[in-house]
Structures are given as structure tokens and as C-alpha cells.
Amino acid sequence: MSVHHDYETVIGLECHVQLQTASKLFSPARNRYGDAPNENVDVVDAGLPGVLPVPNRRAVEFAVRLGLALGCDIHLTNVFARKHYFYPDLPKGYQISQFARPICTGGSVTIETDQGEREVRLTRIHIEEDAGKTLHRPGETASFCDYNRAGTPLLEVVSEPDLFSADEAMAYYKALREVVVHLGICDGNLQEGSMRADANVSVRKKGSGALGQRTETKNLNSIRFLGQAIEAEAHRQVVELSAGGTIKAQTRLWDADKKESRVMREKEEADDYRYFPDPDLPPVVLTAADLATIESGMSELPRARRARYQDTLGLAPEAAATLCADLALAEYFEQAAAGHKNPVSVANWILNDLSRLMGERRTDDDEGGFSAATVGIPPAAIAGLVTLIDDKVISSTIAKKVFAELAADPGLRPADIVEAKGWRVQRDEGALRALIDEIVAQNPDQVAQYKAGKDKLFAFFVGQVMKRTKGQADPADVRRLLQAALS
């Protein structure tokens, strides 16, 4: 494999993002995965003569959201075009897409690499309709079409050849998925094909500025397959070139079972899709006010949120990342930490005790994510609990008991629980000192061992005091008075 060190891989990705609209891009048929075949087909989707497509406002808005999130130039006037090719799952004989005047150009996706963050430039984002599904059954001499997916809205996100390894391509795909899920425009469900990528891969001698001949590997529907397909294709090209061969322009298909790609078609001449503006569809014309309205409805992106949690609220990177990985969890934290003077402690309670409770109470409806309704405890109660600790009204030991009470009855206020149970920290130093003297007198062996240098026994004495005070003593007071008594 030593020849590989002489080459570098260059990758550009085309990602198809399925938009979670209620209806299709140009028809009122349901945009829903998993229904019976051909249930969600309108005359427009079936390409019947004399019908007119009408664009879905939400699909256009979703494109704007993604464009704003990725810093693209958004073209207020953009144009749908027809892309012609024949395939049985494309009833009209053309796909409505955007070509010369897409909705977004430029922009970038930020990826995490071993060398830190890097911007991967985008060429464009355009809106297009998906095709139906063709089923191939073994032993059959025909294929079978289901047009439920025909006409569902997609965004195609095209990157520049700015990725230089399979790992970077996977990081890009993950970052893009995080953004579209966070924006609420795509469910990010890779198993159901909600995101699919085509990888343009070429290799070149290191230090060479020119791009090598590329191939396109289509329909990669998981992050793992994407990585495997790129590794395999780069390897194939390096072996070919090292043996004195050449790379041909090809479209290839990845076989996930065999972990190899095969040629789908040779591209001897450039594809001729005969694009032209769709005469059925006047240009989409947006205003600056439309963009402002859309932007005002957008939630903060995970990367910006993570940075804010770390820089402004002082959270550790891991805590910030865990909170931001789940929008519901992040929103719960936001509510609990709003105006609180100790957001770090609030975050810790949410990530430890509250997340543990979520794990215990998780139902099938929760789909692996956090749910404020499932845990039941309102964010304000967590905030109140942390305040009680910070104000030294209760010890952290008692706080655990207050949390257990909250878990049992989320309607209670932490301060009320503390009062009702008489759990306030005991501030009577004389009583505490007397108790400590008593414990010291009752444990002469431990006192002797401690004084002989067995420092670990200090924790034993702290434990005894906390036990006798039912956790209501302030641990700091206990340590100070114990040290005095044992010296």
C-alpha cells in the first residue's frame, strides 16, 4: 500500500436532503414514507397530460433556511428547470429541478477534523423533485414502480471538491445532517433514505494542483457506506494509475454487502439532460422581507449553541456537546439556566440525575431523545434545587433526596420540600461540635489509626457525622470542625 502515500484523494459530495413537508413539491399528495404503494399519487405526480405544478411554499422556505444557516447567497429570483431523461420511475420523462438559476449558491459547511475546524465550500443548493421507486425482484422479468416518492421535495447540496479523505467526507455528511435536523427541515433518518449522497472521487499525485479524472458513486445512504465507498474507490484508482492505467469517467454503484463498487454506466460523453426553464413554472420571486421572516423563525445552530454554552455560560466542551446533540435537552437546559448564576451546576444536574431519570422513564414514543414531558420535573425545579445548594440552604447529599422527591411528585417546589421535611442545613455549630466530640470519643481505634497517618479515615468521620445529622450538616463545616477535633 506504499504507493498510496504518493497520492491524495479529492472528494466532492452531492447530498440529497429529503424535506419533511406535509405535501409534495408540486402537488397536494402526502409526502409520507411507508404507505402502501401508489397511495400518495396525484395527477401531477403521475405526469398526466394537462396538469399544472404549483410549488410548495414550505419547501422554498426550507431551502432558504438551509441557505441562511450555511451562509449561502440566496437568490430572490430563482428558476425551476426541466431535466430530461428516461426512466420508468420518472413519469413525465423529465425531473423538475433548478439549473442555471438555483435558489442558493456559495456558502460552506464547517467540519471537525484532526487539525481542528475547517470550512468546506459549497457550490450550490437547489430545489428539486424526487423520482419514484423501482423495485427489482429476483426471478421476475419485469420491474415494478411505486410513485409515492415521485414529486417529494429534495434539496440537493453540492460541495466543491474540498474534501481530502473518507473521514472528512463522513465528517461533512454528519455536520450537514446535524444542521438540517436542527433546522427542522429533514428528519435525518438515513435508513429511510432521508439523506442520500453521491460521491465524486478522484486521486492525484501529492503536490499536484490539477484534479484527476473523477468517477461518481451514487446513492450512498449511510455515513459508514459513504466512507467505505470512498476508501474503496480511491484505492481502486491508485492501483489503476500505479499500474500505468487510466481512470475513465464512470458512474458507479456501491454494493454494501460485497463492499465493492461496480460500473453503472460509462460516461463517454457528457450527460445531455437538455435543461431548460420549465414553461409551466414562472420564476420563484422572494423579497428581502420574506427572508427576514424566515430567519426570525429559525433556531440557533448546534455549533453556535455549543460555542455559546462554552464561552458565555462556562460549560465544559463535553457538557456543551451532549446538551446540544439533542434539541429538546438543550431547550430544557436553556429554560432551567435562564438567568441562573450557576449554569454549570444546572447543566450537571440535567446531564447526571435528570438524564438518569429520563433513561428510567423512557417510552417507545421518545425515540431515543430527551422529553421534558417524560421526565415530568419542570426546568424551574432544577434551577431552584441548584439555588438551594448554592445558597447553602441544603447540602448536596440532601439535594439528592430533594431530587428523588421531585421525581415522585414533579408538582412540588424544591424549597417547599426542604421546609416540609425540615432538611435545612443545621447551622448550630455548638451542637455540631458536641456531636463530633461524641463520635471521636466513640471511635478511639479509628482516631488512633488516623493520628498514626491513615489519612483515608477522615472520610469515615465525615460519613459518621453526615449519617448522624441525616445529611443536614454543611460538609464544609463538618470538615473544618473535624479537623480541629482530630488534630
Partner: protein, 94 residues
């Protein structure tokens, strides 16, 4: 403007059409006449003129994202290959 036999062959291939030799010649001559006619427009100086993609510049009315009951299977049942569930098509080998 030239329209060669190869031009016609390419177009026929893209359109998945087959024609006989006489029709092939007629198409070639027709297409040349059409293109020559349309070429008259190139006499106009269009430098700096934004290409017009549609007769209206008002913008397309957009539809609100509401799903309705649609024809469903009835929309495809007219296809010759409708099986009651799928549409049967000539085998496509990828």
C-alpha cells in the same frame, strides 16, 4: 447553422425514437429550416439584457403546504402495466 445526419441520430437516441431513412432526411431538412428561421433573432443586440425565462415576471404563486386526499392509485390505474398495487414496467437493469 448546420444540421447533420449525426445531429438527427443524436436527437433520436435522446428521444428514444426510431424513424426510417426518408423520415430521417425530412427531419434533418425541417430542423435546419426551423433553426434558420429562429436564427433571425440573433440580429438583435442582446448584450446586457437579462435572459427572459418566462412571460410573467410577477413570480409564481406558491401553495401552502397542505396535503389533501388525491386520486392515489386511480392516477396510475390507466397505465397498461398497473397490477393493482405497482406499475409493471419493462425490466430495468442497473
Amino acid at each position: 447553422m448546420t444540421v447533420t445526419d449525426q445531429t438527427i441520430d443524436d436527437l433520436l437516441k435522446l428521444a428514444r425514437l426510431e424513424v426510417d431513412a426518408a423520415e430521417h432526411d425530412r427531419l434533418r431538412d425541417d430542423l435546419l429550416r426551423i433553426l434558420t428561421f429562429v436564427e433571425a433573432i440573433s440580429e438583435v443586440d442582446t448584450d446586457g439584457v437579462e435572459p427572459l425565462v418566462h412571460m410573467t415576471t410577477a413570480g409564481d404563486p406558491l401553495r401552502s403546504d397542505e396535503a389533501h386526499d388525491v386520486l392515489g392509485k386511480a392516477a396510475v390505474q390507466g397505465s397498461a402495466g398497473f397490477t393493482g398495487e405497482y406499475v409493471r414496467v419493462p425490466q430495468v437493469v442497473e
